[in-house]
Structure formats: structure tokens, C-alpha cells
């Protein structure tokens, strides 16, 4: 599996730090081109590679860490997303889902990416906490994972674990996934999981 992060704001950078610390190679891209990311890549070391959007879209698992509305622009760059796992690390920061036709935001994202298996995770912590060491206090920081495809969920849970977090898979979007919505019951909690 190879990984990419699209977006180099607070969340994108926080994730790049986690990949770097864990020694898991990742390509990071934004709309301004790889030159804008050269300094970050240099700072974080060899695991983080500054790439073009094109490079990032070639990865098996693509993490969307852009502002919610911008996922539409990313979506348009590929006509067929089959075979890709897309991680929705975004939040739709509106109290009402009406602008999404009533869909949960990650179902809306999935609709924009025909063929992709969309998994929601990395969306639920403030960027500073996301970037900080997940191992501590006798356990590991919890990261919830949810999506409508079991195989993609377990692939992503395994990545989440490689980055040092304790992955807890909540199931489909209409099961546990909607608890990860903006202001939902399972967002913004700093949980440490003890034991296995």
C-alpha cells in the first residue's frame, strides 16, 4: 500500500508529522505545487515526499485533508476512482446537512468519488492533538474509523495503528459513522485506550 495526503493545512501537516515519526512513507500534495511543500518535506525527513497532485492521486490510499468544499475539485481530477481508498479527514462544519441533500458528509464525499471506498477517520481531533505523540499515559490515543466497506475499514484501521493510534472501527456510516459528524458524540475527545 502507498499513501498520500492532499492538503497541507493544519490537518495535512499534522498527518505528515505522524507519518514521518512512524517512518511510513507518504506523498503530500496541494494545489500550489510541490515547491510549496519542499520546506515541510525537508523538515520532516525522508518519509514525507512533496509531490504534485497527480503524484498524490496515484496512491492506493488517498487522505483528503482539504477544506470540505475543496473535495469537489479533487474529485474532478479523476473520472474513475475504482480501486482507491479515500480517507475523509474533513469536517462539514454546518449544523444542518440540508446543503448535502441530507446525506452524512462522508456519504456525500463518496457520491463525488464514483468507485472509491471512502473511510472517515483523522477528522475527529484538533490538529495540534492529531500531530502529537499518540502513545502515552499507559496507552494509545483512540482514533475512530468508519465506512461502508469492511475491507477498506480494516485496511485504514491498520494504517491508523501503524501511525501509533488505537483504532476503533465503528462500522458503516449509518451505524457508528454518523457519531463522527461535526459536533457528534465521538468527536473532539482525547481518549487513551489502555490494554490491547
Amino acid at each position: 500500500m502507498n499513501y498520500s495526503i492532499i492538503g497541507s493545512g493544519h490537518v495535512g501537516k499534522a498527518l505528515a508529522q505522524r507519518f514521518a515519526r512512524s517512518g511510513v512513507p507518504v506523498t503530500i500534495a496541494n494545489t500550489r505545487g510541490p515547491e510549496s511543500l519542499a520546506a515541510l518535506a525537508l523538515e520532516l525527513g525522508p518519509a514525507v515526499i512533496a509531490g504534485s497532485l497527480q503524484d498524490a492521486l496515484a496512491a492506493d490510499i488517498i487522505i483528503l485533508a482539504v477544506p470540505f468544499a475543496a473535495h469537489q475539485d479533487v474529485a474532478r481530477t479523476i473520472a474513475d476512482w475504482r480501486g482507491k481508498i479515500v480517507i475523509d479527514a474533513m469536517n462539514f462544519r454546518e449544523p444542518s446537512l440540508a446543503p448535502l441533500g441530507g446525506l452524512q458528509s462522508s456519504d456525500f464525499v463518496a457520491q463525488s468519488l464514483p468507485g472509491a471506498k471512502v473511510v472517515k477517520t483523522f477528522n475527529q481531533l484538533p490538529a495540534a492533538l492529531l500531530a502529537s505523540e499518540p502513545v502515552g499515559r499507559g496507552g494509545r490515543r483512540v482514533m475512530f474509523v468508519a465506512g461502508n466497506h469492511d475491507d477498506a475499514n480494516s485496511e485504514v484501521a491498520s494504517l491508523v495503528g501503524s501511525l501509533g493510534f488505537a483504532a476503533i472501527t465503528l462500522g458503516r456510516v449509518d451505524e457508528g459513522g454518523n457519531l463522527l459528524r461535526f459536533r457528534g458524540p465521538l468527536v473532539l475527545h482525547n481518549f487513551i485506550k489502555l490494554g490491547n
Partner: protein
Amino acid sequence: MTYSIIGSGNVGTALARQFARGGITVGIANTRGPDSIAPLAQELGDKVVPLTLEEALQAEVVILAVPFRAHTTVASALSNWAGKVVVDAMNTYGVSPEELAGRASTDVVAAAFPGAKVVKTLNQLPAKLLAQDPAANGGRRVMFVSSNDEGAQASMAKLVGDLGFAPVMLGKVSEGGMLIGMGGPLILQNLIKQG
């Protein structure tokens, strides 16, 4: 609010311990009568009061810590549960999905207690962990709470908080409540909420 625990097995005993630690008065009853609970009450101090089943059912909040199938026996002791909060601290180990007719176990419990506001919580940790001091590892142990009744959910979240846990409300049974059902992803997780 007045509280009682029905059941003095591992879970009931663990809960009594937490009430004693939290300094919150609680009645405790089982089918064998208050004498059988006297030694436990003596050990835990005056906050834990052994009662008859009948006395215990007078509490505003009745916590069910009996084996799952026994809830119907408790339910039949009162004909009207209106105004009461019933806490489902049970698990459905050994109960087949057919027996539940495909329903969430908390919904099955709610059907047996007409008029009660049923809240699911205190069910999700092994008894030994449930009995431990919830203040640990720089934070407090998480206890999930779910109910179809928002008011009852909030008041039980407050109780759970007063007992020292970090309450996290999951919403209705059909939403987050399923996650703390048997085999659910949030059951048997030893989570410590920081900050």
C-alpha cells in the same frame, strides 16, 4: 434523586462500590433478601443500604444489574413504571438474537418496563474494571450512555460523572446505543478521557 441497584452479583457489587466511593447513597436488593447483602453493606459503609426488592423499587432510578433474563421478573414486580428511570446495566451473554427477535436488547428491556425511561450504561466494562477507581492514567475512565429519552440520558450522564467516570452520551439506542450492545465496537474498551 434516589437510586437503587437490583442485583448483587459481580456488576451489582462493583456498582455499589462506586456509589460508596462517590459518597452517593444507594439501595441494593436481590431476590434473596437484605440479609444476604448485609456483609457487603457493612464493608462499603453507610452509603450502601440493603433493602428488600419492594423497597428498592421505590427509588426514582432503578439500576438493573441482574442476569438479562431476570429483568422480566423485576419488571413484573410493578405494574406501572411511569416516572422512573431504569438503567440497563445488563448484557446479553448467552441470549440468542432469536430470543431478542432482532431487537436491540435495551429496546426489549424498555418493552418490559411500560412507562419507564430506559437508559443503557454501566453495562460495558468487565465487573473488575467497573469496580476500579475511574480516575486513572491522567484522566477518567469513559462510560458511554445511551437512551431514547434525552432528559433521562442527561441525568444518568450526570450520575455517571458524579461516580467519577467521564460520561459520553451516544444518543438514541438506534444511533449510538447499538455500539454498546453485545459485540459492539464500544463495549469492553478501557478508555481514559484526558483533560
